[in-house]
Structures are given as structure tokens and as C-alpha cells.
Point group: C2
Chain length 250, copies 2
DNA sequence: CAGTGGTCTAGACCACGCT
DNA sequence: GCGTGGTCTAGACCACTGT
């Protein structure tokens, strides 16, 4: 099997990460197979996430990307800083995990005021149809798309405040600081994690290569018993992130 | 594009989850395309996780599977029970999240005593080469493989104890109860989450259909400052699980 | 057995990247 | 322009599923 042999070469390091595979023409000669067979083999490796293919250039053993670590402590750090009354630092919860400064960031944003869907209302613990501020974000760092997300706030909590103005994004210190400015101190965050293959829209926006799944987070931010923010769907390409949770049992 | 049209039919519900797609022969006629084109389209949908294909039967819109929820509270529940001095219940941390009883479980296990690799030693905070008990597990519930994992314990902590005997698995109450029996009370758990496409070996063992990623967990179990258990690689098919973390910030 | 998908061949033309 | 991958056709034979 052509795929097996190429996989073996990549895993053994004979074809190191980032290196070009032999061209289809070369492989046709080497394996005495037809082009369809060769392409099928490469397609399989692509689906497995072993190689990435670039039109007109060739197929590469997948290079190892720097991984951003998203730790559960990121919430506590920001909260501690706010409690000390300090200003927002150059780096914040989102950025400090990867050593990237705000200035290197791009943030696309789109705000809408919409009635809550059944799913969203359930996560907030309110009646369906309650008005919310829906904020869609796409984060880019140094040109590389990092994540897209839809974060919602209850409209009667934010209407008329600076939080409702897209021009104030990115807000130094993120959601935690934003809610703090409204007099809300968060007491907990619940995150539910799943993974799946990206849909076409996500592949385009996040520039996800073939064979890379996405990690999805559904986040509820609590202030006491009350849910004050819901991120319905934070979508992060899985080759760029590691989630880190510490569960304190004392 | 054939794939686009089929994707549209599935997403619109014209082909409901679990339903058979038209056969390749039918699609050749309907789209006036060659077999290669049709197969490529179905292959794409398979890679996207939209359809599953069964040899000799056909391709189905992917059925929705019941999802097992793995909550961070599972550790606390078990710990609370042990603190109360109760016996292990019929359901335990692992099973209670999905309503499956121990009796419906199968557990393949394989124990080895090996020197710690550099990565493992780093996670334990010990010298590389320190002897550990390496335990490989495959869990099945009602015939469906649920996860495979490699969990390690420091050998000088468990040698000669019932914990080191594979015959005592599955141990009622799981790792927490196991460590408790050694006089170790855990104080925290750190879990690092990633996702990727499965390798061939995992596809076979866990019976993962095409287009389904796996979620991987690296777990460190703490007793105070000390790491008492490390699960290097817990591998769970992503279509069967949701991880649930509550981060307390009070 | 007929019908399904799995694999393969041997050609063709098009689109992209580079020099 | 030349080499790369992207897409497509029109056949062939094999392997699995069901009646």
C-alpha cells in the first residue's frame, strides 16, 4: 500500500516535518501505480492529518505548529489583577498564554441585538426570546487566525454601556474586565469541550488545513447563581491549541 | 459539485441522520458523472464526518450518537464518597456520567513495569528511568469501545499491593479509590486536552468511523505537591464524549 | 445471485507556482 | 514554459451484503 509506505517514512523521520513528499509523477514511477492510486493514498494521509497539500507546489509532511496553551488559570489571573485595582497590562488572559502582545492582534467583530434562541436561553437560564447582544469575533495573531467565537450578553445588562460598542474591542483584559466595568464580579466559569471536523465556512475563515479537527468550547460565565455571559461556540483549530484545566479537590 | 449538493440535502434534512444515501450507480446517473467523481465526492463528505460508508451496503448520513459527559465533578464525587467511608457504589465516577453499570462493562488491561521515558518522568517530576507500573486499558460499554488509555503509577508506591494486580481491575471507584487504598488522598487533577485525527491503530481498536477526530487527555493526579498518577494519553473518539469543566473563581 | 462499495488502470484537460 | 496538483472520463476486476 502506497499510503502505508509514505506514512512509515513520515513517522520514521525519513521525511521530516515540513519536508516535501515526492511528486505524484515520481510516486507513479516508484510504485508502478496509476495516478488515481497515488492520489488516493495522498488523500488518505491528508484526511489523517499527516500531510498538507499545496496546489502547484506539492505535498508536505505536516509541519509542527507552535501550540497555544489555554489554561483555566487565565480567568483567575485576570480576576486577581482586577481585585488589586491594577490597570490592564499589555498582555492579558488571552494573550499571556502565547506570548503575543495586543498590538500584534487583529480582531474582527460583528455585534447584533437578537432574541435568544431556545439553546441560548437555556444556557442563560432565561426565557427564550429574551434580547441579547450577540458578538461574533474572529481573532488573528500575527496574521494567523486563532479562533472564532460567538459571545452573548444579556441586553438589559449592557445596553447603553461602553461594552455594547464594538469600537471598544478588543477590550483590555477581555470578558472578565468587561463585566467588572459593569459592576459584575464573576465567580466561576463552566466550559464544555467537544471536537469535530470543521465545516466549510470554518475551513475558510480559520484557514484550517485538511485533516485538522476543531475544538469547540461552550462557555458559561457565572456571577453567583446567575449566568452573565455565554459563548455558544468558540471554535479553535486543534493543531494550534492545548486546553489546560486544573481541578482543585481540596 | 456533487459533494455540495449531497451536503445540502443532509444539512437540510432531506436525507435525515441514519438514512441511506443514493447508491453510487444512482448518483452516476443523476449527476451524469463518472464513478471516480462520485466516489471522490462521497470521500470528501466522509472526511468531513457527514457520512459513514459500509462496504456492500452503502453510505449513510451520519447518525447522531449518544454523548457521554465527562465532568470535572467526577473526581469530587468519588472523593466525597471515600471521605464518608462508604462502599463503592454500583455506579462510579466513570460510569455515573453515562448511566452504565459496572456489570455492563468490559475492560481490557495490560500491565508492565517499565522505566519512565523522559516525557513521563517530566510529568511525574522524577528522574527519567524511575520504574513505573504502566497500565494500558481499553474500556468498552455495551460492546461499544469508549476509550483507551495508558495510566502510570510509581512502582515503589504500588509494588506488592493489590493495585499492582491486573485481576483487581476494574477497581470499584477507579483511580481515586485505588490511591485511597494506598493511603493517598488526592488533592487535585490537571487535565490537558487536545484533539487530532486518530492513527490507524486507534481507528481499529476504538472502531472510529471516518471523519471523526479523537480527544486526547493528559492527566496528572496530585496529592499535595506530589504527582501520584499520570495518564499519558487518554484517547476518546470525539463523537462519543463531551468534557465538562467548572472553574471555581471564588 | 444481484447490488453494493473498494481498488485499480490509462488516459485527458485545467489551474496554480515558479523561474 | 514546465512541473506541480485538481478534476474528470470510461472502463475493469475484486470483496462484501443481502435475498
Amino acid at each position: 500500500m502506497v499510503a502505508d509506505e509514505l506514512r512509515r517514512r513520515i513517522l520514521s523521520g525519513a521525511i521530516p516535518p515540513g519536508a516535501l513528499l515526492p511528486s505524484e509523477t515520481t510516486l507513479i514511477a516508484e510504485f508502478s501505480a496509476s495516478r488515481g492510486t497515488i492520489r488516493e493514498a495522498i488523500g488518505l494521509l491528508r484526511a489523517e492529518g499527516m500531510v498538507v497539500t499545496e496546489h502547484g507546489r506539492g505535498s508536505y509532511a505536516r509541519p509542527v505548529l507552535p501550540v497555544r496553551r489555554l489554561g483555566s488559570e487565565r480567568y483567575r489571573h485576570e480576576l486577581d489583577r482586577l481585585a488589586r485595582g491594577e490597570d490592564a497590562p499589555e498582555e492579558t488572559s488571552f494573550t499571556r498564554d502565547q506570548g503575543i502582545r495586543w498590538s500584534e492582534y487583529q480582531l474582527d467583530r460583528e455585534f447584533r441585538e437578537v432574541p435568544a434562541s431556545a439553546a441560548l436561553a437555556d444556557l442563560f437560564g432565561v426565557e427564550p426570546g429574551t434580547m441579547v447582544l450577540e458578538r461574533r469575533f474572529v481573532f488573528r495573531a500575527q496574521g494567523v487566525p486563532q479562533q472564532m467565537s460567538t459571545s452573548c450578553l444579556l441586553l438589559d445588562m449592557v445596553a447603553g454601556t461602553p461594552v455594547a460598542d464594538p469600537a471598544n474591542e478588543p477590550w483590555p483584559g477581555g470578558n472578565t474586565a468587561q463585566l467588572h466595568s459593569l459592576g459584575v464580579t464573576i465567580t466561576g466559569v463552566r466550559e464544555r469541550v467537544r471536537a469535530r471536523m470543521p465545516v466549510a465556512d470554518e475551513v475558510g475563515t480559520l484557514r484550517i488545513p485538511g485533516g485538522v479537527p476543531v475544538v469547540t468550547l461552550t462557555r458559561q460565565t457565572y456571577a453567583g447563581e446567575r449566568v452573565v455571559e455565554v459563548a455558544l461556540d468558540i471554535v479553535i483549530p486543534a493543531d494550534r491549541v492545548e486546553l489546560d484545566y486544573y481541578i482543585d479537590l481540596t
